[in-house]
């Protein structure tokens, strides 16, 4: 599992991110611009809340009947002459893909942007094959690859942390001698990548949605590289998280509309494609078509309170409204899945030992939940993660380290602490009531029973834990427990 993007401790990453002023400005600018575009696109559609109801219903339904839909989809892919491989782990997926690459004697591989292939570290595995080259063809992913495989910082805008001068330097290494003008640089990338494309023998794509009743895959993009990846090479391998499925073209169409509006404020992105293996009479498109369906920890969410995280359509809107993401950017999270969705998903996929600190990197302001097009109760799930960790602590004291690390996140970083306090306390304090301090509630300072409108809807059924007030002594509580923990450790 390689969703980690850094070996450094969380607070070190936060500190580094805080010092990256260009990144902070870029994220703030992007968040503000996307806010306007997203809001306008949703308003123009009208009835946005009812569209969210529909989006949520589609996603909940397919997760509920996931094995049935995957079975139907794989039957239909095979009817069309394609192949489906079910991979429980990243290793199984990578081995299968390497096997196909070897069988096909693939030497030039083109890839279009896919988070799930980043998750399984596919690029490096394929590059370990003899005489094999590989090109990320999405402009942002191409820049990251050529910049020594720098890590993405956003699930929709992976190079948000880079400025034009940095990109110009990356391109200079490839023979570019033009200015730092984005258009001129994009033209260079077009020519450079086009030459590579025309020689490519294997194409690898992700999948926004798999269409169960006809075996097609749906990709939603803006640049056109994904469509070239599906047109030119003779072999295509699609890699998809097992939850990325819809019943039919109709539901794909609904979600494409919601995804485009939520991700980039467009009614539809430039290219929404529905595709499968070449049929008789056609001359381009893959004659050999493989779909790899990946679990890799996703099933940890099934049957638990975290199941709604599988509804995610990766629009990135929750990142674009998050005050914490605004300050620490993608790299601060240390996961390829950053922001609120990353803080919920990363511990599900890869455990609390590695990502137990992320659920604490939140102000619980509920802006993420409010914007999510498929109504994932993100901040509620963050609280749930904290609760699960507390329960684990009760059962298993060795878990102390993980919990303390996480609790430290909320208190040891001045910026996170400030956002948490200001964000969550604005308007919430008058609604809260005092409760006796107990370890079950990590923030031992009261529960909210009626939330302000931002969080309305879900506090009717569940209390929201409140963060400490400025004047309260959560830091003392934390310090005391840290001391106990250290004393405990010294006795081991």
């Amino acid at each position: 599992m390689t969703i980690s993007t850094s070996d450094k401790p969380f607070l070190t990453r936060v500190k580094e991110s805080e010092n990256d002023h260009f990144m902070q400005q870029s994220v703030a600018k992007a968040q503000d611009a996307q806010w306007d575009k997203r809001t306008a696109a949703r308003e123009e559609l009208g009835n946005w809340e009812q569209w969210r109801d529909l989006g949520e219903q589609i996603r909940q339904h397919v997760i509920k009947y996931l094995p049935d839909y995957l079975e139907q989809f794989s039957d239909n892919v095979e009817k069309k002459g394609g192949h489906v491989f079910f991979a429980q782990t990243d290793e199984q997926a990578v081995n299968y893909i390497k096997k196909i690459a070897k069988e096909k004697k693939a030497h030039r591989i083109v890839k279009s942007k896919s988070m799930v292939t980043t998750e399984i570290n596919l690029d490096k595995a394929l590059l370990s094959l003899p005489e094999t080259s590989l090109m990320e063809t999405d402009l942002a992913e191409f820049i990251l690859q050529e910049d020594n495989w720098d890590e993405p910082t956003h699930i929709v805008f992976p190079t948000l942390h880079k400025n034009r001068d940095q990109i110009q330097k990356v391109f200079n290494k490839l023979g570019y001698s033009g200015s730092n003008d984005p258009e001129e640089m994009a033209k260079f990338a077009r020519k450079y990548l086009r030459e590579y494309f025309m020689q490519a023998d294997l194409g690898i794509t992700g999948c926004n949605f798999a269409i169960a009743d006809n075996g097609m895959i749906n990709l939603v993009t803006n640049e056109g590289n994904a469509d070239l990846t599906m047109a030119i090479p003779k072999t295509q391998i699609v890699v998809m998280g097992m939850e990325r499925i819809v019943p039919s073209l109709k539901e794909a169409e609904v979600l494409d509309n919601m995804l485009s509006r939520s991700a980039v404020g467009q009614k539809l992105t430039s290219y929404c494609s529905f595709s499968g293996p070449q049929v008789s009479g056609e001359s381009d498109g893959p004659t050999d078509f493989h779909v790899v369906i990946l679990d890799n920890g996703r099933s940890n969410a099934l049957g638990t309170d975290f199941e709604p995280v599988l509804q995610c359509i990766r629009c990135g809107a929750c990142l674009n409204v998050c005050p914490i993401y605004r300050h620490i950017g993608g790299h601060g999270y240390g996961s390829i899945y950053p922001g609120p969705i990353g803080a919920v998903l990363s511990p599900v996929l890869d455990g609390y030992e590695k990502f137990g600190d992320l659920p604490f990197a939140s102000s619980l302001c509920a802006a993420c939940t409010e914007t999510c097009p498929v109504r994932i109760p993100l901040h509620q799930l963050l609280i749930k993660h904290r609760k699960v960790m507390m329960d684990k602590l009760k059962m298993d004291h060795s878990f102390n380290n993980v919990l303390m690390k996480g609790a430290g996140v909320a208190t040891s970083s001045p910026i996170l602490f400030k956002i948490a306090l200001e964000g969550a306390h604005m308007g919430s304090a008058p609604l809260s009531k005092s409760k006796e301090t107990s370890v079950d509630n990590l923030f031992n300072y009261g529960h909210i029973e009626k939330a302000p409108s931002l969080a309305s809807g879900w506090t009717d059924v569940r209390d929201l834990a409140r963060p400490p007030k400025h004047s309260d002594d959560f830091r003392s509580w934390y310090k005391k427990h840290k001391k106990e923990q250290q004393e405990g450790a010294s006795h081991d």
Binding site: Q88, M185, L193, K267, T269, S275, S283, D284, G285, E307
Partner: protein, 234 residues
């Protein structure tokens, strides 16, 4: 057998979810509302045309309206305005329906055609060398300024992505309100056997990217510009 690992995988996720497999047939998806159908419903073809123009121009498309008589002149103007020297055209039976048989015949020697007889390499080399493409769309979606095209033996996938400039011809009667209506058409055509295709593209304006400092750059991998020509046929 590619399916050998499927049952283990599906059984495992069913167990983890605590739900029995094969329940779907008794619980098919029934949408909670009819927004995909009712949004923009009941508009006349003239209203849809107006909306399509507005929304296409909003995504940087050059939008033209014409009739069968003026169409060939408009296409010639496009070729000279874009200074197109290597034109690619599809192989299809639509030329006559748009009054373009003579126009197409005149270009037979100078233009390249995507042909069912050519190999993958030959067709892709032709479109890659083309600085202009003129093709036919199946539908135009008014809400988003989107053309839709299903891949056919005479108009392959690469046809829409590799040329530098791109023009698409759409009959006015094929303007639909939204993507939902297009999906109904495609599902029906596939189910009845009228359409056999491996690929359906919904294309909304030219290729673009905001990957460098969020500055909108048009024409990254696909065509640098798009022209839609709606032809009066009603």
């Amino acid at each position: 057998m590619t399916n050998s690992n499927r049952e283990v995988f599906l059984d495992k996720i069913a167990t983890k979810a605590g739900r029995t497999r094969h329940q779907l047939k008794n619980h098919p998806f029934v949408p909670i509302n009819d927004l995909p159908e009712s949004t923009l419903a009941g508009k006349s073809q003239d209203e849809l045309l107006e909306l399509a123009q507005k929304n296409s121009e909003a995504v940087h498309v050059t939008f033209e309206k014409t009739n069968r008589i003026s169409l060939s002149t408009l296409l010639n103007d496009f070729l000279s305005a874009k200074d197109i020297n290597n034109l690619i055209l599809p192989t299809c039976d639509k030329w006559a329906a748009f009054g373009l048989s003579d126009w197409e015949n005149k270009l037979a020697d100078s233009a390249e055609f995507w042909t069912p007889e050519s190999s993958r390499t030959e067709n892709l080399a032709k479109v890659n060398a083309a600085d202009g493409a003129i093709g036919f769309a199946d539908y135009l979606l008014a809400e988003s300024g989107t053309i839709t095209v299903a891949t056919t033996p005479g108009q392959g996938r690469g046809f829409h992505f590799l040329p530098t400039h791109y023009l698409s011809i759409i009959p006015k009667s094929h303007i639909l309100s939204r993507s939902r209506q297009a999906m109904h058409k495609y599902e029906a055509a596939i189910a009845s056997g009228k359409l056999t295709t491996s690929n359906i593209n919904f294309i909304t304006g030219p290729s673009n990217s905001g990957d460098i400092e969020m500055v909108l750059v048009v024409g990254v991998h696909g065509p640098l510009d798009m022209t839609y020509v709606v032809v009066e046929d009603l």
